[in-house]
Symmetry: D2
Subunit: 462 residues, 4 copies
């Protein structure tokens, strides 16, 4: 079995930062040694990481690779998307899958995705999705668990929305099985009414997108889901892509009354981009995603939440569409614009930049981007940290390098990045997946299809 020694690194785990080395045997971490501790000398390929920081490979628990949104597909498939992820230091994605044909079995689309995902270059898991609720669906939730899918998503808006009377049995069943219910939280009646109104009024520019999905609609849905989950015996809940200070305040209110088992996800777009991006009718299309970008005040409130530990996971909701073509469907009517934007490649660099600048600690970044998602989504036995026995998934950064984010330097299959022009500190210089160096100096150097499907366990009951 091949051995590699990643030496002279600053190692960052979910709890610590220290100078040391990591020995990899085959696909797994065999040893983590601090400076001064004995290291193997023979039969070992040594990779010197002097001046570099070695973090666990990122886990992006919210991607939409190859997503079929009806009129079109997201532009990154599992190959291009996973290559981009890898180039940014992410070594695991958990994809939120499409709903599939009306009436299809709960296991239908996961099967479809196992095929779609084959070209992936990093490991991947899948979340299930429920868009109708009946006895069979509830029964079949167990089949998801059996296939390694320990979480299931519901939407409170869109065509696939699920309403309160149906949500309750889903939560009860998830509680019974130990699954996590992921939820897209927006009040459907509000969004539907506002979109109709804007269309009727001829208010079709991008700037009406955020107005049609106000923070109050998110906060309402967040609080509602938390209450319903609490009543279901504190069923495990993951509020995905929380975007607003008001939504965060609602979640805090419930938590402060003692509620457990609610995990909050936010995304880089909500921490780095504000709603002034919609003011340009043309450029604004790039930022049509849901929930929409919020105000500068929301950004400040979300960062305060990140700093004090309110968030459990930071994922991207990566769902890119070409600006020159696909996004132009919304050019004369924002409601026709495919929702979503890229992000999978820059997530780790964006957060790392904040961490090296001291906004959050490096271990806090690792918890948000790696360790906590692993715990919540049943991967803690394989992924998310630097420790013997875990998969040798690493993101190596040069903390001193400064650079400017720009689309041309990225690997996402899309013609823009929302983060264009942002100044960052710290470049990803190497990515390791199960012991393989798959990215080096910004070049993806491994094989298509080397990614493996992750049979996820139940979330840790913490």
């Amino acid at each position: 079995m091949s051995k590699k020694l990643f030496q002279n690194a600053t190692v960052v785990t979910s709890r610590e930062v220290f100078e040391g080395a990591v020995l990899v045997e085959g696909e797994r971490i065999a040893l983590v040694a601090r400076e001064g501790e004995p290291l193997p000398e023979n039969d070992v390929q040594v990779i010197d990481l002097t001046g570099k920081m070695l973090l666990p490979g990122g886990i992006d628990a919210h991607t939409h690779f190859d997503l079929d949104v009806g009129a079109m597909r997201a532009s990154d498939d599992f190959y291009t998307g996973s290559v981009a992820a890898a180039c940014g230091g992410t070594t695991t994605v958990i994809d939120h899958i499409a709903n599939g044909p009306a009436g299809c079995a709960l296991t239908h689309m996961p099967d479809v995705y196992l095929n779609l995902a084959k070209p992936a270059v990093i490991d991947y898991g899948l979340h299930g999705v429920i868009s109708r609720v009946d006895a069979t669906v509830l029964e079949d939730m167990e089949k998801l668990v059996q296939r390694g899918i320990s979480s299931v998503k519901i939407y409170l808006t869109y065509a696939q929305k699920v309403e309160d009377p149906a949500i309750l049995p889903v939560l009860a069943r998830a509680k019974e099985l130990g699954m996590v219910v992921c939820v897209h939280c927006e009040n459907d009646a509000t969004v539907t009414a506002l979109r109709s109104r804007f269309v009727a009024e001829g208010h079709l520019q991008a700037r009406y997108h955020p107005r049609s999905r106000p923070a109050e609609a998110e906060a309402e849905a967040v609080f509602r889901m938390m209450m319903l989950a609490k009543l279901a015996g504190e069923a495990k809940l993951c509020i995905v892509h929380l975007s607003s200070g008001l939504g965060l305040a609602a979640a805090r209110t419930a938590r402060e009354a003692g509620q457990r088992n609610v995990y909050l996800e936010t995304c880089p777009q909500y921490l780095f981009l504000d709603d002034s991006n919609y003011l340009d009718d043309k450029e604004g299309l790039k930022f049509i995603l849901s929930p929409p970008l919020r105000t500068k005040q929301d950004i400040a409130q979300l960062w305060a939440g990140v700093r004090c530990g309110d968030f459990d996971t930071l994922a991207t909701d990566h769902c890119p569409f070409f600006f020159a073509t696909q996004k132009q469907r919304g050019a004369s009517d924002f409601t026709q614009c495919p929702n979503g934007a890229p992000g999978v490649e820059l997530r780790m660099p964006l957060l790392f930049s904040k961490a090296v600048q001291g906004v959050i600690s490096l271990p806090a970044m690792v918890r948000l981007c790696c360790a906590r998602p692993a715990e919540i989504f049943g991967l803690a036995h394989k992924k998310g940290d630097i420790a013997p026995g875990l998969d040798a998934d690493f993101a190596v950064f040069d903390p001193a390098a400064r650079w400017t984010a720009t689309q041309s330097a990225l690997h996402e299959n899309v013609d823009y990045t929302p983060y264009e022009g942002m100044e960052l500190q710290g470049t990803p210089v190497m990515t390791v997946s199960r012991g393989d160096i798959i990215v080096e100096n910004g070049q993806f150097i491994a094989k298509k299809g080397r990614g493996q499907y992750l049979h996820r366990s139940l979330p840790l009951d913490v």
Copy 2:
């Protein structure tokens, strides 16, 4: 025009407590004089109130007199109910009316109630109620305003429940008209599911009533309504009978984000009675009301809210049923028990007792029980305070007297009081309605039918 001088009183207004006198000419207050200021001497009937406190007559903005709940009617009609109210120092009620037959016009039941209410001995207004939403109903809301009904109630649970897509246009129309939307806040899916489950499990005792209507169901609905009202341009909203600390926390969260025009009502039962009352299967029936009584901790949280000004109105939701007969319908199944309990007579004494003991100030009591309800519900030009030009409606208390609340001493047409045995400080000794002394020393001494219908204005836009 007859003149009465209420002299040597401690006068309590919404802002002040002072020694003084109030001169009444006919039905209105002509003069409020502080100690030492000149008083008329001739042609005046002098009522000496030495040692007594004169407050504005109470406004109970939430009664259900003569309510038809299908299988039976609430045991107090407008005569007995208004006599009881008067005996407790309340001189105005605003009744929440029944829904009426399916499909009836919005104005149908108000007309019915104008007839039902004729025997009332104190002045009364009506809230409208909406149980289905269509263009005609929305249009007809203006007719309510024209009839002096400037508020309308919706229920988020029960058969008459209204759902989000229908709530939005009601709020928008109310905003347009300047009306207040009163809301019974409980998450219907939760209550429905829990009741079904308890019935299926054979858990039919009174103690399952509170478990079937948990605080989370209230808090969810409170927060949802606040968000929807905010999105409707801060439509005026009155959350009726707020019962839980969690519901209050939800309301505070929205307010602290800057929301205006949300009025909170709580009731004596939620401030004085806790859920240990349900432990006795038999006695528990007396307390079957919705939302149910909560924990001691909720009581502490609600009092903190009362003290710091979170609440705008304190009403009773008075809806009595005879324990010996009507309430027994729930003896073997709590879901069959008519919901409601008496309270209209003791509201003012209960609060006065807390005020003289210093838990809240006397003006704060007046604001909660008289002045703020008048402002919110369009009666500030006639009722709610002690000032020249306002109706001469007074509640006179002896602050030194101590007594024990007991059903036999009350005038409510029902065979129990939830406050049985409670020690109180301060007895109501006289009630004055539009200049008439209608209660003296606990005796109602006026005529049936002397009450007048109150054509309410729009709420003050404060």
Copy 3:
């Protein structure tokens, strides 16, 4: 006695907005008539206010006219300051007086100020100030009450700071007497240490001023004072010039636990101006005031508080110094710059502009700027609202006019305004003080010295 009828106005009170007229007999309001109600026709001077809004004259409960800060005096004395106030629609000031010579009796400086204030053109009251605490001082607090000074200020920083062991007896004595304790809240140790450090480091530019007085220092002191006041039996407390979102959050935390009798004051500078003003080393001196301007996020948080009713009074802390001369003392060292800025003239216009734009309601503006300060500071029997018997103090605005704030149009005796260039809606067109029209079309037209000393009562115990 002369009679004036202010006719065809939109009248704004603390509770209502209506079309109507106000009849003044001599110095007092004799009658408030709504449209259609009968008006006197004879012996009356009619002032037509068609298209105008008539509000109660403003009460600015925090000015520093003629303040001696040692090296210099504030540039507005009671004459120029009160003329400026009058021109902006303010008809009452309550001045926070200087400490006076070391060891002087508590009544010494009020006596000095009674003389200083004689040239005032509007009515004025005084707050007392305590800078040392001993038995005599505590005893003499009653003398202040006897002189109509029902509030007393303490500082938690500056040379005159008072520390916890001394604060407790002041609060206890104030509770006993019914006085309000006004407090300047900043943690002295923090401010002292940071100023020393910046001086030692040579960081002497204006931008170090806000860094030397961080929001945390304010929030600490706010929470401390609230706790101490609560322990003194909920002694009445007025937190002056609250400037930060964190300070507001601290106050809310205490209130939500049920604390009463804490009044919050903020100032226009904290609602309209942010700390980017310090970035220009030279211009920054104009904004050296304490507490300093805060971030845009703080502004948003304070406005949310204003909207939901957290604040009781909005005052200016008016304390101007000439930029060209006096403020230049800080040109090479911010710690030498006299602290303070003008504001007394623009307070009402700034708030009125927000009110006509719907950010807050007009009655809410009146409560903040007129009625609540009157209640809190013992003037409710004379000032603060539009009602028969109250002093005829009015601010008349043209709500349609738009203008740009600029120093040259103002009457403050100082060479700049912090609000230079701000676009406002609504111009003050007439000011009436005790029945006299003292300002008309921006011209002060009354006599020096016409202002009267206000013997203030105890605060209302609400």
Copy 4:
């Protein structure tokens, strides 16, 4: 090297609960195996734990063994105290040491304690303590770190109190060195004034103890320390023995504004015992400890905090005095009563009982009682969890057994337990310290003095 295999256990770590085995080689954990994974068969002493739960040994980060309080010493010395701790499943204590003689060097008392602690039977660390601040003390803080003392305590009340101007440099120095500052938070002026008043009034019974140390005094000090720590660059702070809902609310307010590096400790007495214990003048002496026991509402608020993750560590503040003798010093004057009560033996059983009943999860209990204290106090490399390389410190519980806490069954050297009569689920059946079984079936079976001094690292920068 001896090997022991703890087999067939339910293993509880800070993140997981699973069936498995733990192999110990010498003093350390060599292997953690899940059910079905291969185990060594030879040269191994097998301990069968069928039906038992194996947790990390407890870390009690707040004891006062052998504390000299002037007139007397706490009744447990390092021998009896550590035996009691061991019998309850605690394998590490970190002792808060006495101040020592006036003017002594910062390192003086640690040296004294190294001697005092020699008889200990489990491993122990020491916190430093600062009671005066000067350049030498600040300089010497580094010597503490060098001796393995990475935390230092200050008191905001008592004779040894430290005031704001002195706190700031301590925090700054701690930030520089990476130390944690532990703080006893009570507002000294308040406590001092109330004690004096009660003594002067002759209110000397135990019930005046809690009244002399109100929750507001704690909350004030908590918020002040958090603000000062934030201003010191988010210096690491541990608020010890947080006892009140108001104190928790204050801490949350600061955290929600984004503050990091504040660790909250609470104690079993504040989670299990309320202030009704003071009503009996005689028995009340048993509960004279500071801060005092609080209300039932506080208990509910603290448990909500425990459930949602607000607390980082749960320690005991163990400081016993004999009721029959020592505590009687307070019989006629509570201010003379030595402050403190026992708890070190029951901490783990009390929490375990709640965990097996589902109030918190088992991993959450481990985080509170073992893992987080290890992280915060620099022991994570040796203690606090179940993982290869860590010390083999275990607490083994029988989760099915029910028992009643009673003094006669405990090993603490004191004649009462505050938890007398409490019904618990789960008995400690075995304690293992560095591989030695030191307690079995409630019998301490190891040698005096076997405990080792723990050279603590700096806290993890998480």
